[in-house]
């Protein structure tokens, strides 16, 4: 290690800038994670909410775009969703899809396919299960 008494007094401006930016990034990162650690949100059970984002003809059938939003801090993996087309109380067609991950406070999008036009029926989507990563 060098002799500290031989110190150079002129610190280049670039060093100040680099150290400042580095420190800012580090402290921001620590603040975000520390907040998570203290809030213990990651231990919550996932709360998946599904919303239909759009419908369109696709090939010989129809596609429905579904957005999954996780309202809690707990991450869900392998999220299974089920979509049901109904006319009154009669189930016309069901379809399903799965999302690899819906992380805490995050969104994931995917879709389900139907052979019938969902626009002429009542469409219900719900999550059916998940796995803890």
């Amino acid at each position: 290690m060098a002799d500290p008494t031989k110190g150079t007094t002129d610190t280049p401006l670039l060093e100040w800038i680099a150290a400042g930016i580095g420190l800012l990034l580090l402290l921001t990162l620590i603040a975000v994670i520390a907040r998570e650690a203290i809030a213990e949100e990651h231990k919550e059970l996932p709360a998946i909410e599904l919303a239909v984002r759009g419908m369109a003809p696709a090939g010989t059938g129809f596609v429905v775009e579904v957005e999954a939003t996780n309202r809690s801090g707990g991450t869900a993996a392998a999220v299974e969703i089920e979509a049901i087309l109904k006319t009154g109380v009669t189930i016309v067609e069901t379809s399903s899809a799965s999302f690899d991950y819906v992380p805490g406070h995050s969104k994931a999008t995917g879709g389900v396919f139907f052979t019938r036009d969902p626009r002429g029926h009542t469409l219900e989507v719900r999550p059916t299960g998940f796995q803890t990563p």
């Binding site: 500290p4 990034l25 580090l26 998570e36 406070h105």
Partner: protein, 281 residues
């Protein structure tokens, strides 16, 4: 790759030899990623505008690497740009050839798919092509000294850290494990990993003397070294990690806490890459 007018000190034969080494380097550096499934799918799924930006930034980094250790001794920025283009060319050809050999690219692959897959692989491959001179030769002492002189200075040190961080981060970033590890870790473990990354970066840079040791001016105490090299080095590692995650679409739709968690995971190899940049670059 046509043989370009070479500097007086080297002839066409030397340049051809350099190109041969560049192909070797490209394959050595890109092989782990050429054999990674996620890289093939990323080639088709990555957002085109993000891929374009990445390819342009990679060119800028290649020009910088050419200054500090390209496959040919360079005299000017123009030559550095020529070498960077040559390295890109080698990277693209090597990636396309290996992907075709693996059957990832076939006659039935759509053109945009071929372009995407080759483009994303060309990044590590061109890195390898550029670094081949350093890696595949014993290193001619005079030239190495010239390069070392050019890389002297604080800005050059930071650039080398960036290149090293990008190289190591890019090697692991495409895999699903990056986000999975982030999900498995508790915030406390993430904080520990931040600490470990910082300590390892500091130890590798100074105690082991792998990078920057000869650059740290006399009289820099422990705290000063930590502030001038370790903190900016980790900052660079974090920025590079965030940029790579964004390019690969890993940040899309993710919450702040999830991004921070993944950033810490990828920041670990990136910090090691920044620290050992001198070894690789």
């Amino acid at each position: 790759m046509a043989t370009r007018p070479a500097p007086e000190t080297t002839g066409d034969k030397a340049y051809a030899l350099g190109l041969g080494r560049a192909f070797g380097g490209a394959i050595i550096f890109a092989l782990p990623l050429l054999m990674t499934m996620e890289m093939w799918s990323l080639g088709s799924s990555v957002r085109p505008e993000r891929l374009c930006l990445f390819l342009i930034l990679n060119f800028v980094i290649l020009v910088g690497l050419s200054r500090f250790g390209g496959f040919e001794r360079t005299m000017s920025l123009g030559e550095d740009m020529l070498d960077a283009l040559a390295a890109y060319g080698v990277g693209i050809l090597a990636s396309a050839a290996i992907l075709a050999l693996f059957g990832v690219l076939g006659a039935g692959t759509p053109l945009h798919d071929i372009v995407g897959k080759v483009a994303i692989q060309s990044v590590p491959a061109s890195f390898g092509a550029m670094l081949a001179r350093k890696q595949l030769t014993g290193g001619e002492s005079e030239e190495d000294e010239a390069h070392a002189l050019r890389s002297a200075g604080y800005g050059g040190q930071l650039f080398l850290m960036l290149a090293g961080a990008l190289f190591l981060a890019f090697n692991v970033a495409p895999t699903e494990e990056m986000i999975l590890i982030g999900f498995q870790m508790s915030p406390w473990q993430s904080l520990m990993l931040v600490l470990v990354s910082l300590l390892l970066l500091h130890a590798l840079v100074f105690a082991a003397g792998l990078a920057g040791e000869e650059q740290a001016p006399e009289g820099y105490g422990l705290g000063r070294r930590f502030l001038s090299y370790t903190i900016p080095g980790y900052g660079i590692a974090l920025l590079v990690s965030l940029y790579v995650l964004w390019t690969f679409g890993r940040t899309d739709g993710a919450g702040l806490g999830e991004i921070a968690g993944t950033l810490v995971v990828l920041g670990f190899p990136a910090a090691v890459g920044a620290a050992i940049a001198r070894l690789v670059v």
